[in-house]
Every structure is written in C-alpha cells, then in structure tokens.
Symmetry: D2
Subunit: 129 residues, 4 copies
C-alpha cells in the first residue's frame, strides 16, 4: 500500500533527488558533465531500441506481457529516464515545466481542428520536428 | 504563483495524462505504437545530442546560459521526455516505479563503499550496463 | 558512365578521403574530435530513425518508392555514413577491416548450422550483442 | 599481404555482399526489414556512444591506444556500419552515390570561402542540418 501510494505520487523532483543521491553516495558527480550524460542517454536510448528491434509489430504486446521481455524493457526505459533526469539536474532544467511549455508550443503549431485524425496531415505535421 | 506551484509539483502521472490528452485531441493515438514511439524517441535523443555536438566541453555552461542555446536545449529535452512518457503510457510502464526498481538494482550492483570516488572503477562499473 | 563506374567502385578509402577534403577545405577539422563526431553520428542516426517513425511496416516500400520519401531517406543515410567515416578517419579505424573482423567473430559466435532459420534462436542470438 | 591488399581495397559493394551472405547463410533475411534494421542501427550507435561516454575529451586518444579500448571501439564502429550497409542493401540505396550526392549538396550550402575557419559560422552552419 505504501508502495502503491508512492507509485501514484512520483514527483519529477523526488525522482531527480533520488538519482542525484545515488551519484553523490558514489562520488560519481564528477563524471556527470552534460556531454557525458548526453552520450550515456544516447547509449540507453539505443539499448531500449534494441529491446524491440526483432519483435514484429503485432508481437509487441505479447512480448511485453512475458515477464522476461517486460522486465528488460522496463529496466531500459528506466535507464533512459535516469540519465534524462540527471541531465536535467546538472543543466538546471525543470523538466515538468519544459514539457508543458513544449505542449503549449505544439498546440499552437498543430491546432486539433486542423490536424485531427488525418494520417496524411500527421506525416507532414510531425509534432516534434 | 500557480505556475510555480505546478512546476514544483510535477507528477509523472499528470504529465503523462497531459501528453495523452494532446494525442487524443488530435486522434493521433493510432500512430503511437510502441515501435513508432521508440523510433521517435531515438530521433529526439539524436536531436538533443546534436544540440551539444559542436560545443566544447568547457563552453557548455556558457552555451546553456545563452537564451537561444537554452531554449533549444530545453525544447529537445522536453521532446525526449514526451515520447518516453508516451511510450510508458502505451506500454503501461509505471515510470516512477521502474526508476526506483532500477536504482535498487544498481545499488546492489555498485555498493557505494566499493566503487566510491574511483574513476578507474567507475569505467568498469558503468551503473547502467 | 563515368559516374556509373565510380558508383560501382566506391572504395571506403576514397569516400573517406572525399569527406576529409570537405572538412579540410572549410577548416572544420578542428571541430571533428571523436566525441563531437560521436554526438553528431547519434544525431544523424536519430534523424534517419525519424524518417520511418510514422510509416507503417507494410507501407515502408511504398514510402521509399516515392521520390520525396526516398530522397530524404537517402540523404539521412548519407549523413550517418559521412560521420561514421569521418569518425573512423580521425580515430584511424580501417572500417573495411573492422567489419570483416566482426563478421569473423560473429560467425564463430553464431554458427549457421546452429542458428539457421529459427526466429526463437535469433532473438536469443542477436548477432551484435 | 593479401589481407593488406583487401583492406586497402574495401569496396562498399563487396562489404555489402559479405554482410548479406552472413544473413543468408543463417536465414536471417526474414528479420531484416527496414524498420527492424533501423532500430538495430540506433541500438549500435548507442553502444558506440557508450564506449566514450565517461572518457574525458583529453583522454580519448589514450583510451583508443589501449588495446582493450580500441578493440571494443572498433567492434562497435563495425556494428554500426554492418547495420547501415545492410539497411542500404534491403532498401536499395547505393551508399557511395548517396554520400557523394550529399557532399555536393553540402558544398553548395556551405561554400568554403564563406564558412571557412570560423567556429561561430560553423555552429550556425551545421553541415548536416
């Protein structure tokens, strides 16, 4: 129950703090320059990509419902998040605020009434490009 | 002040919900398969990497203190996070819990008293590999 | 016809030389440290990934037969290759030899008679992991 | 000496053929769809990034002159190249020609007399963006 509560209430700031503590306890802050963390983030994004590289599109759900497949996937997702949060920490980016600013920007760029439900429009209206 | 409050209190679950709403309003959920989102995540990690690709190590802080450099960096960080949270949403990964499980696992693998403060040990003791 | 000849005969060493010349003529060698090039390579791999991020599996061939889709794809493939060859150049890696050494290593690791034609074995026998 | 000759003469087409043969002998062509290979490429680019993630800028040459560091680096470089060439093979991209087309395009975009030797111009004149 305590666990459930914490899960439901994961604050970005708390997770960031826990990740920082992990580094501090090992005196690993010295290695966490922005570019080092960026290379590490690319490394982990790559490992996550590798998890599904040979899994056919219609087999993904099945793969992720197998305990081994899910465990590996979640561990890689966590690794990407850990380095992303650590990068935000050392570069003083408020990630929650940055996400919300980007969503506002994207909403102006892609008004729902204009792009709604169209695959064709979506391709030319990549929300992140 | 409201904004400050929300920033300080960014819950992973709330951010996830806001990102999902953005997709729902545009009927873009149909494009958000795990592998599509994974390719998009790799794309955004790459764009983030590109932000610092020509910035010398000792120039990073200066670069990130310039308004243009910071704005671009934060937008790319946000893009990575948006796709990561969206990926967790569609694959039903509780990201906060996954991060904490990984930190526990890493703590067992790299006891602070053994790896502390050693660059040499760190290299061979990559916390994420 | 000359062009056809050169295409059929693209030597890794010649391409590497042409890419180096491009940098030399612009005095851009100073920016091409291994880690800079590595971040740039990740950036381009990400842009390549983005080319197919929203293209459904069974639509890829069609997408790549459209002139715009193909042109963009080939340009991104080239960008990845350019930075990879440039990285090999500055780190003095003979790419052809490195590829052949890796194929020999992989052949020992995955004897064709053992792994042949089995999806299940392939998953657990990722040739590159 | 034969080896030296082959190294000096590595043709893109020959390497592509050798990589294809490796897949054919194992009946692995069925797994090599463009998007699968793209995820694999991102995975390998990430592993390559990881090789230098904790290596300080001024330690890179030393790291790559140590036999273990160099061997790992070359193996990862080869993995990226193998998947890139395999991707070109299945999508029928003539990589040498694509690289040369991109260099011509970049030369028009960044005339050497205009961008030469200027870090400031280089930043805003990223050859690949």
């Amino acid at each position: 129950m305590t666990i459930h509560y914490r899960r439901a209430m994961s604050l970005v700031s708390e997770l960031t703090e826990e990740i920082r503590q992990f580094a501090v306890e090992r005196d690993w802050e010295q290695f966490h320059s922005p570019r080092n963390l960026l290379l590490a983030l690319c490394g982990e994004a790559g490992e996550l990509a590798a998890e599904l590289q040979w899994v056919a599109e219609d087999r993904v759900n099945e793969h992720l419902s197998e305990s081994n497949g899910r465990e590996r996937f979640e561990a890689e997702v966590a690794d990407v998040a850990i380095y992303l949060l650590r990068l935000c920490d050392v570069t003083q980016v408020d990630l929650g605020a940055a996400i919300r600013r980007k969503l506002v920007k994207n909403a102006l760029k892609y008004p729902s009434e204009k792009v709604r439900g169209s695959a064709a429009r979506y391709s030319s209206a990549d929300p992140e490009s």
